[in-house]
Symmetry: C2
DNA sequence: ACCTGAACACCGTTCAAGT
DNA sequence: ACCTGAACACCGTTCAAGT
């Protein structure tokens, strides 16, 4: 739906808009999966030439960033618990769930300096985590470290699981052909013992449980560092 | 260097071999970076047609797996500390360092069921971590969870940092154009306070420190679960 | 038994020319 | 002011035909 040419403007009227592009991209992803989002297919969806898109977005990365910021703005935050430790867990879990639902976002967010490219809604999630860590007693620097650590864990989990489900979605049967017979070696006693159950174990969702362990470990480490207390970790 | 046709075999002699392909791939990566490793460029390196490669490897994924297993076989393991907790940390750190040096490996390893595709040298690293967790007192299932959690953290860190350095290596200056002015919002007080220092903070290597916090958190959680002790994490 | 070129079905992006 | 087709410089992979 081309917007009406505003008064006082001249020249050929536009056939699309940034908003229409973002919305078309969303429906393309919802319908065919995010792997199908290409500049050319998006243009076809909008009935315009692929090159016309470059008048509205700088490049594909720019388009994904646009999509991501719009998505983050719509994200509903959970109720925030009072205890700072629980706040960190809940907000990080919400961040995880958002990324798990839109795994393409995780791939964009592995680019360097991505934080500087985010709009306020997305940044407010980072703010909440850093703020909660400071409330718990961390210094600002420690709080940033807490966020970064949880970020690595979260994005790693999302990326691995995204690639896993992609394998299932496609016609690829690599998964089923992986016999795990390599696990059955006398030099690998522990793995042999779980070989038959490995797939079932690996399918279990342990994100939340390990997130809590990580948060507790990070906060304890930060406290120990501040009080000069000797911990196992501080030995090194 | 085409191997001599063995006696008792007939037909057109081969112009290359699996070993030659893997070795050419390695030198291509070492020379031009792993993003430059394509089937076509690898074939050019070997002075053969791109399609000939498909007689030796099933597809590109298969080639990367070949490369990965060869790399893992050459990996030197650190001295193993006696304390199980320290052994987990050291082996995971070694795994991290291996992946950090060869970040393309991390991308292969996000495919589902990759464990079933690994050869024994690569699997023995997993074995060491699971074994150390069991030695510490974990059940086998808990030990697998410990490995998976550390794996997510490790691969997340490697992928983010790999994409970061890629941005620096290329002519892209996205990083330098990211002004971080979005961080300077009155609604983001914590981020505003670190905005100017964010880049320096994010460049710090915190992998080891947070790894120790994670391991301690995971082992404490596993112990608490076994002894039925109430912890913060067990509340939920 | 092994190799090959041509072809298929795509990508993101640039750019001079058109309306 | 905006849009376009043609072109550039690539991908991974298949397959019938050749040696």
């Amino acid at each position: 739906m081309p917007p009406a040419t505003p008064p006082g403007r001249t020249g050929r009227p536009p056939v699309t808009s940034r908003a229409a592009i973002v919305s078309a991209a969303r429906s393309l992803i919802d319908r065919d999966g995010w792997e199908q989002l290409t500049i050319r297919k998006l243009a076809a969806e909008l009935n315009i030439g692929p090159t016309t898109l470059y008048h509205y977005v700088k490049n594909k990365q720019d388009l994904l960033l646009l999509l991501l910021n719009e998505y983050a703005a719509q994200m509903a935050l959970p109720d925030l618990p009072e205890a700072p430790r629980d706040r960190i867990v809940e907000v990080t879990q919400a961040l995880h769930d958002m990324l798990a639902a839109w795994p393409w976002a995780a791939e964009v967010l592995t680019v360097d300096g991505f934080l500087g490219l985010l709009d306020e809604p997305a940044l407010s999630i980072v703010e909440l985590i850093v703020d909660a860590a400071v409330d718990h007693g961390c210094t600002l620097d420690q709080a940033v470290d807490v966020f970064r650590s949880l970020w690595y864990y979260t994005i790693g989990e999302v990326l691995v699981r995204a690639h896993s489900s992609r394998g299932h979605a496609d016609g690829e049967h690599l998964v089923q052909r992986a016999t795990f017979h390599n696990l059955e070696s006398p030099r690998l006693p522990r793995l042999s013992a779980v070989a038959s159950r490995w797939r079932a174990l690996a399918a279990r969702d342990i994100y939340r449980k390990s997130l809590e362990a990580f948060v507790d470990g990070l906060l304890a480490q930060a406290t120990a560092a501040r009080t000069g207390q000797r911990t196992r970790s501080a030995k090194r």
